[in-house]
Amino acid sequence: MFFYLIRRIAYGIPIALAVGFVCFMLVQIAPGDPINAIVPPDAPGDVVEQVRRDYGLDKPLPVQFGLWLLKVVQGDLGRSLASGRPVWSDLSSAIGNTLMLATCASLLGFILGCLLGGLAGTFRGSWIDRAAVTLAVGGVSVPHYWLGMVMVVIFSVQLNWLPAMGAGPGGSADWAWDWEHIKHLVLPTVTLCVIPMGIVTRTVRGIVAEIMNQEFVTALRGKGLTRGGVFLHVVKNAAPTALAVMGLQLGYLMGGSILVETVFSWPGTGLLLNNAIFQRDLPVLQGTILVLAMFFVILNLLVDLMQTALDPRIKRG
C-alpha cells in the first residue's frame, strides 16, 4: 500500500504538469497576441514592449512556460484584465461557493442514486426498477441549464416559493447557514444533482443486481440471515465502487457547474468563467480552469487511494 501511494503520487506529477501546460497553451491558442491578455488594448506601444520584456513574452515558448509555472507554483495567477485585481483574490471566494454547491449536489445525488439504484437492483424487472431506470436516463439526458430554468419557472415565477438568483438576500456573496441563504441553495442543488443521481443509480443498480446473484448471498440466506443482515453484506460490497463514482462526480460538478451557476447567478467559479469569457479576460479564464483542473487531478488521486484502502480485493503494489 505504501509503495502504491508513492507510485500513484509520482504518476500524478507529470499529469499535473501536463494539465498546467494545457492551461498555459489556452492563452497561446487564443486569437491575437498573448500580450493582449496582460495589457489593455489601448496601452501605448512602448508600454506594451516594456510589459512584453517584463513578462518574458519575447523569449521562446518553453522558457515562457517555465517562467509561468514558477509564478503559478508561488500562487501568482496574474491579474484580471477587467478589474485589475489579482486573479486569485476573485477566485478564492468563488471556489468556496462552487465547492459548497457541488458538494451538496453530489451528496443529494448520491443519496437519491443509492436509494433508487438499490431498490432497482433488488427488485429487478419490477415497476420500481423501470421507474428508477427511467429517472436515471432522464437525469443524464436532461440539459441541466434548461432544468434550472424550468425549476425557476415553477418554484420562483409560478409558486414564488424560492428565490431564482444569487446566493443570499440582496445579492450578497457572503455565505451563512441561515434559512434565507439555504433557500438560495435549494434550486441550484436540486438542478445539479440530477446528473450524479442518474449515474449513481445506474452504477448501484448494476452492482447490487450482480451481488444479489452471487453464491455468497444465497449462502447467507440459507444460513438464515435476516434481510437486514444480507443488506449489510451487499452494502459492504457495493460501497467502494459507489463512493468512487461519487468522488469523481464531485469533480465533474466542480468543473461542470458553469452552466447551472450562470442560470442561477450563483457567485462561484462558473459565473467567474462566464464573465471572463464575456469580457475576454484571459488571465481569469486561465487561472480558474487551472485551479479547477488541479482540483480534479487531486480528487482523482484521492478516489483511487480511497478505493484501494476500502476494497481489500484490489491489490496494487
Partner: protein
C-alpha cells in the same frame, strides 16, 4: 501444380466454403441485430421521433409557417396557442415554431459533427495504439490521460472560451473533448482482438499489418466503438447547445436551441412556457439518442 490455377485444390475449396460461411454468418449477425431492435418498442419509438425531427429540420423551409429572422415589435412574446403563431413568439416577435425548426439544423449539426469527427480520429489513434502497442501506445495513451484530467464541460468551455465564439470553434472544442474517450475504448477493444487466434493466423499466413487491421481488426472493433460513439451524441447535443447558451457557439440572430434558450431567459417572467421550449427540444433529442444508443448496445450485444 500446373492446373492449380484452374481447378481449386481441396484446401482452397475449404477456404472458399469458410469464407462463404463467414459472409453468411455476418449478414446473419446484422439480421439478428435488426430482429432484436425491431422487438424493442422503446428503441423503435425513439428512433421514429429522431427520424421525424430530422425530416422536420431538413424540410424546415417547406413546413415553417414564417420567416425565422423576420420579427415585429407589435407581436413580442405571444403565448403558446396564439392563432397563426402556434408556439407563440420570442422576445423579438419572431415565430417560435419556425425558429425551433430552423434552430434544430444548427443544434443537430453542432451536436453530431464533433462525435463523427472524434469517431474517425479516435478510432484511427486508438486502433493504432492498441495494435502496435509499445512506445506508440505509451505516447498516445499518456496524452489521452492528460485530457482525462479535465472534466469534459470544463475542457469544452476552456478551449472554446480561449478560441472565442463561433460555430467552428465550438465544434473544434467538442471534438477535442470526445477524442480521448473514443481512443480509450478503441484501444481496449483492439488490444482484446489483437491477441486472438485468427489475427495470429492471418499474420502467419503472411498478411501485412495494414491488411490485418483493415480486414480482421476493424471488422471486429468498429461495432463496439460505434455504439460507444452513439452514446456520446446525447452529451454532445447538450454541450453544444450549452456552449451557445454561454454565448460561445452561434451568434444572434442565428436560430439555435441553446442560444434561443439564452436570449429567452429574460422572458421567463412574461411567457415562461414559451421561454423553456428550446430546452425541451434539446431534452427530447438528447434522451432519444440516449435510448436508441442503449437499444443498439443491447441488440449488438456489446458489453460495457
Amino acid at each position: 501444380m500446373a492446373n492449380s490455377a484452374t481447378t481449386p485444390s481441396a484446401a482452397e475449396a475449404e477456404l472458399a466454403v469458410q469464407a462463404r460461411q463467414a459472409a453468411e454468418s455476418s449478414t446473419g449477425y446484422w439480421a439478428g441485430v435488426w430482429k432484436r431492435v425491431r422487438r424493442d418498442p422503446v428503441t423503435i419509438f425513439c428512433a421514429s421521433i429522431l427520424l421525424l425531427m430530422l425530416l422536420a429540420i431538413v424540410f424546415a423551409p417547406l413546413i415553417a409557417p414564417h420567416d425565422p429572422y423576420q420579427g415585429s415589435m407589435l407581436r413580442r412574446l405571444r403565448a403558446i396557442g396564439t392563432p397563426n403563431y402556434v408556439l407563440g413568439t420570442d422576445e423579438l416577435g419572431r415565430d417560435m415554431l419556425t425558429r425551433l425548426l430552423y434552430g434544430g439544423r444548427l443544434s443537430w449539426f453542432m451536436g453530431i459533427t464533433p462525435v463523427a469527427l472524434a469517431f474517425v480520429i479516435g478510432t484511427v489513434l486508438g486502433v493504432l495504439a492498441g495494435y502496435t502497442g509499445g512506445k506508440t501506445n505509451m505516447a498516445i495513451m499518456r496524452v489521452t490521460d492528460v485530457f482525462y484530467a479535465f472534466p469534459s464541460v470544463l475542457l469544452a468551455v476552456a478551449i472554446s472560451g480561449a478560441l472565442g465564439a463561433g460555430i467552428m470553434n465550438a465544434i473544434l472544442a467538442l471534438t477535442l473533448v470526445f477524442i480521448p474517450p473514443i481512443i480509450r475504448v478503441a484501444e481496449t477493444v483492439t488490444t482484446g482482438v489483437r491477441n486472438l487466434d485468427f489475427v495470429d493466423a492471418a499474420r502467419a499466413s503472411g498478411a501485412n499489418a495494414f491488411t490485418i487491421v483493415r480486414v480482421h481488426v476493424l471488422g471486429n472493433v468498429l461495432g463496439p466503438i460505434f455504439v460507444y460513439a452513439t452514446s456520446l451524441i446525447s452529451v454532445s447535443m447538450i454541450l453544444a447547445s450549452g456552449l451557445s447558451f454561454l454565448g460561445l457557439g452561434t451568434k444572434p440572430p442565428e436560430p439555435e436551441w441553446g442560444l434561443m434558450l439564452n436570449t429567452l431567459r429574460t422572458a421567463i417572467y412574461v411567457q415562461p412556457w414559451v421561454a423553456v421550449l428550446p430546452g425541451a427540444c434539446i431534452f427530447i433529442t438528447s434522451i432519444c439518442f440516449n435510448l436508441v444508443s442503449d437499444g443498439l448496445r443491447q441488440a449488438m450485444d456489446v458489453k460495457g
